[in-house]
Symmetry: C2
Subunit: 166 residues, 2 copies
DNA sequence: TACTAAGAAATCGTGCACGATTTAAATGGA
DNA sequence: TCCATTTAAATCGTGCACGATTTCTTAGTA
């Protein structure tokens, strides 16, 4: 993006110009960073046969299984329309099982198979490899992570509020 | 995500546990932040008839038109497989025109229509409205933006390097 | 002039993401 | 008990994203 060299819009009120540009750049930077990171994960995850969202789902399941679709959705910030087909693909790959909860037939319990558990060992080297790719110093990463965590937490509240209004 | 309350994995070698967790959380935080931001933009962009990627494309075109598909791709970090259908939708909505460059028939020039230019006025209020939604203080936003910009710049280099290797 | 190589955009197939709707199960009264 | 309400997941339609391939154009070169 040529954002740095952008001249001020001639129509934007002066008092908004700075803030508007900052906002645009921040949101765009988040958008770009997210996409670039997914791309950097690809060569690490391809050998495991996982996409990045699938990797996130497995991480969640390795920490807590069985989980319901709803619990996974809460953990990952995704809804059933996204998770159901993703989990079906993981099931087709033999990594998880899906079954109705006998105690509440509305729920679906998802759980890693033996193969899915075995994958955890292979996946163990991913975070360290990924860390090597990240272009900031350790303290900067920590600071970025800290700010982002507060940011996400705030956004989630705003998002929940917006959902309740409608 | 229950990341804050996550207990340490019992299988991860101790010396990697901290770094691994930090990495996972940072990447996941970026992924989450990006998705949440797109969601926050939706109510602002819906009245304009734009999605967030379409809004980004229009921002780029308002700054520089005509642009080729390749130039837009460079600016937004997207390839022609993503942009071509997106631009066709903008064209179908009457916001841009697409035509082959007479000087080089390989290129396609994209340019806002009068309607696309008019939309710029309406879109002027979007950044300020978005800014109100963001949950951090101005100095924190600035710091986040600064770190993210360096981060993205570094990731782009890493990504370009990876592309050249293959 | 031909012939190859390089470039730009479009196309194809797969997967993620979500709003809106649907189906089915559980819950809470009248 | 019966029925309305709520809840959980699945489904449908649209749009983004990208690797791989294809088509067409331009450039370079024997």
């Amino acid at each position: 993006m040529t954002a740095e060299t952008t001249t001020m819009s001639t129509r934007t009120p002066a008092q908004f110009a700075g803030a508007a540009k900052l906002d645009q750049q921040l949101c765009f930077a988040l958008y770009s960073a997210s996409g670039l990171m997914t791309r950097l994960y690809r060569p690490l995850l391809d050998p495991l046969g996982l996409t990045y969202p699938q990797y996130l789902a497995m991480l969640a399941l390795w920490e807590r299984a069985p989980s319901t679709v709803g619990e996974l959705g809460e953990a990952l910030g995704l809804d059933s329309a996204t998770l159901t087909p993703l989990l079906k693909r993981l099931e087709a790959g033999g990594l998880v099982t899906r079954r109705r909860d006998p105690a509440d037939e509305r729920r679906v319990l998802v759980e890693p198979t033996a193969k899915g558990q075995a994958l955890r060992e292979q996946a163990g080297s991913v975070p360290a490899a990924m860390l090597c790719n990240l272009p900031l110093e350790a303290d900067e990463l920590k600071s970025l992570h800290h700010t982002l965590t507060r940011f996400v937490s705030g956004l989630r509240k705003a998002d929940a509020g917006a959902a309740n209004q409608s």
